[in-house]
């Protein structure tokens, strides 16, 4: 009986934690950005301004949910759901602690990559169905950006896979008992970090929404909770990529004394903060710079990293 309900319990806990964290990140991001800009950020509603999360959610829920008459209705409604769904499904393979994972797939990494690639459909479809030039431009940019950054995102991970000898995330974490993979795979880590930022469409790679050029790009026609879904989806994406980095390069839940879940949470939180620091500190590149960086610099680097790692592992045998 217990064994039957345990996975359900795990799912419930994961959903609870991830969704609340995603909502909480609205507050975290604003406070951190403010900290780095010598401001305070939201600090009035409730203790430390935490009530801002509730206030923001109530605001989003009570806003008019407007679908423009010129939009392609079914697709328009579907698009925001895709981004949240794919990001949430990805958490199925993320191990939070030993044994605390919904589905310990033996191709966990591939599943992660596949799901985050599906997420781009959301952006492209949103841009397309909005029937608006800016949105369409945003959608096109997003698809081109994802396409080129996903290539070396996968390649950057392969170094880790070679070292661990498995695609299963729990195995990869266990393989880091001796040494975190960030040390032998430092280049891979940097590449994955860059690709991860691009994958979540966060600044400085937010060319798909680039409010100063495309007036919010793919979601300029969205309002109310549909807009909120894009935001929650983006935050879940940030959590996901941070968790992935922690798992693949920083030993996941491994750490002394304190419980494993704490170590995993702390490492994930660190990378979430790093994401926000990127937003606070970096300018947005031009689109052609983004593209040529992806294809001419990062992709060759990822290939070299893969070759060298493979060669070293072979020579060690």
């Amino acid at each position: 009986m217990m064994a039957k309900f345990l996975p359900l319990l795990v799912i419930a806990v994961v959903l609870f934690v991830v969704l609340n964290l995603a909502a909480g990140l609205i507050w975290v991001e604003r406070r951190l950005l403010a900290l780095w800009q010598d401001r305070y950020g939201p600090n009035r509603v409730g203790p430390f301004g935490l009530g801002q999360i509730v206030a923001d959610s109530i605001k989003l829920f009570t806003k008019e949910d407007w679908i423009p008459p010129f939009a392609d209705k079914p697709v328009f409604v579907l698009a925001p759901a895709i981004v949240v769904a794919t990001a949430l499904i990805s958490f199925a393979v993320v191990p939070f602690a030993p044994g605390f994972v919904i589905a310990d797939l033996n191709v966990g990494i591939l599943f992660l990559l596949a799901m985050s690639s599906l997420g781009v459909y959301s952006v492209v479809l949103a841009g397309w169905s909005s029937n608006n030039k800016y949105s369409l431009l945003g959608g096109i940019r997003a698809s081109a950006q994802m396409m080129s950054y996903e290539v070396f995102m996968g390649l950057a991970l392969l170094g880790v896979v070679i070292l661990a000898g498995s695609f299963r995330l729990t195995d990869i974490v266990e393989a880091q008992r001796g040494m975190w993979f960030v040390i032998p795979q430092f280049l891979g880590f940097i590449l994955f970090l860059i690709a991860g930022v691009a994958e979540t469409r966060r600044l400085p790679f937010d060319l798909a929404e680039a409010e100063s050029e495309l007036i919010a790009g793919f979601h300029s026609e969205y309002s109310g909770m549909k807009f909120g879904m894009f935001f929650v989806g983006e935050y879940i994406g940030v959590i996901l990529i941070s968790a992935t980095i922690a798992l693949l390069f920083f030993g996941g839940w491994l750490g002394p004394v304190l419980p494993p879940a704490f170590w995993f949470g702390a490492k994930t939180m660190f990378f979430i903060c790093l994401f926000i620091l990127f937003r606070a500190g970096l300018p947005r590149p031009r689109f052609d710079q983004l593209m040529s960086w992806g294809w001419k610099v990062l992709l060759p680097l990822a290939l070299i990293n893969l070759l060298v790692t493979g060669a070293v592992v072979l020579a060690r045998r």
């Binding site: 900290l35 780095w36 401001r39 305070y40 620091l277 606070a280 500190g281």
Partner: protein, 171 residues
């Protein structure tokens, strides 16, 4: 690439810098005495009304939010019968203060004049009048102006020469 890392580091260091936000309702920002806020009508050092109802401020006002009616008291002093400023239109440009020949109308460093009803933003003379001389403590228009009023004839103002007696032949 290195410059990006450097700028990230620079931004990160701001985590330990002092925050510049002024927590408004509890702490107040310093507003200089010349700040252009709520408008007041001031008085002479003697306590008399400074405004002579010359209408120059109303003319200078770019949004036409000042309205007044001139009248005269028993001493021959002009003063406004009513003086009304519609602060829902005022843009706090300070032109009225610059136009005023008597330093009567002055802008003050007070910005807390929010209201729930727009009508409450129309200030009448009794709302505008203050008891002091504002930024110019010594100036008294009627004492330097060469206008005869009750208790002060022509030639009795400060630094004013006695009027030339055109009937006399003496220099």
């Amino acid at each position: 690439m290195l410059s990006l890392v450097r700028s990230l580091w620079e931004v990160f260091r701001h985590a330990f810098a002092r925050r510049v936000t002024v927590q408004y309702p509890e702490q107040k920002a310093y507003l200089s005495p010349r700040y252009r806020g709520r408008i007041v009508l001031t008085r002479d050092p003697d306590g008399g009304e400074r405004c002579v109802a010359c209408n120059l401020c109303a003319v200078a006002c770019p949004v036409d939010c000042i309205s007044l009616q001139a009248t005269e008291d028993e001493h021959g002093r002009r003063y406004p019968e009513f003086f009304r400023i519609n602060f829902s239109r005022c843009i706090f440009c300070g032109f009225c203060e610059e136009a005023c020949p008597t330093y009567a109308i002055q802008l003050t460093p007070d910005t807390e004049m929010g209201e729930y009803k727009r009508k409450n933003l129309v200030y009448e003379k009794e709302d505008l009048m203050i008891d002091g001389p504002g930024k110019y403590p010594d100036y008294n228009f009627w004492r330097v102006a060469g206008v005869a009023i009750g208790g002060k004839d022509k030639g009795q103002a400060e630094k004013e020469l006695v009027p030339v007696d055109t009937h006399s032949l003496l220099p």
